[in-house]
């Protein structure tokens, strides 16, 4: 399992783009990068997953450079409701087991 490192917290304002970078220096060849979002008093919610280059869905984009030692989650035009903790996960163990780190607390201000 890749050990991931991400900033503890980030502040932003409504309408701005938020980019959260996660480092995973020891990621294995077959490992994917997965991001989850967690609102207060709720369980985490899957956002996006990628292996290399760029992945985009209706919620976010994920950029993974060629060396795959880091990845950046991009949230376009955030709103107050995007205030949450965002977790970067690298790879999985057998049984689809995941390892959550401390996450990045994103606060979106008016």
């Amino acid at each position: 399992l890749a050990k991931t490192t991400q900033p503890i917290s980030m502040d932003s304002y409504e309408g701005q783009e938020v980019n959260i970078t996660c480092s995973h220096n020891n990621i294995a060849t077959n490992d994917y990068i997965t991001w989850y979002q967690q609102f207060p008093s709720q369980g985490p919610r899957f956002i996006i997953q990628g292996y290399k280059t760029k992945v985009t869905n209706e919620v976010a984009s994920l950029f993974i450079p060629a060396d795959r030692k880091s990845s950046t989650l991009s949230l376009p035009r955030v709103s107050l409701s995007d205030t949450a903790v965002y977790y970067c996960l690298g790879g999985k163990a057998a049984g689809n087991k995941l390892t959550f780190g401390g996450g990045t607390r994103v606060l979106v201000k008016p």
């Binding site: 008093s41 369980g43 996960l89 999985k92 049984g95 689809n96 390892t99 401390g102």
Partner: protein
Amino acid sequence: NAGVTQTPKFRVLKTGQSMTLLCAQDMNHEYMYWYRQDPGMGLRLIHYSVGEGTTAKGEVPDGYNVSRLKKQNFLLGLESAAPSQTSVYFCASSKPDRSLGSNQPQHFGDGTRLSIL
């Protein structure tokens, strides 16, 4: 569209008491998991199951037992509750493992807040 349902949502126990947390999923998922989350921390895996009748230990299994008698249900038991087990407990489920390193997204319940005095 219930997804993953956890009961109860809140519970206060005294040290030494026992209780069972229930998790039910209606997505026909093979895999189920129990995590705990302490304040300001990420989630830690307690036990998990890759199918009916099978369970395995996760990162922090001590003091907990689990059972998966039915595919849709995953029970977490505390035999003798301790204050260190005060936490928020999350259940999750997913489709079976993929062969490569990609993750099947896990679907989480809204948690059970457990306080042990």
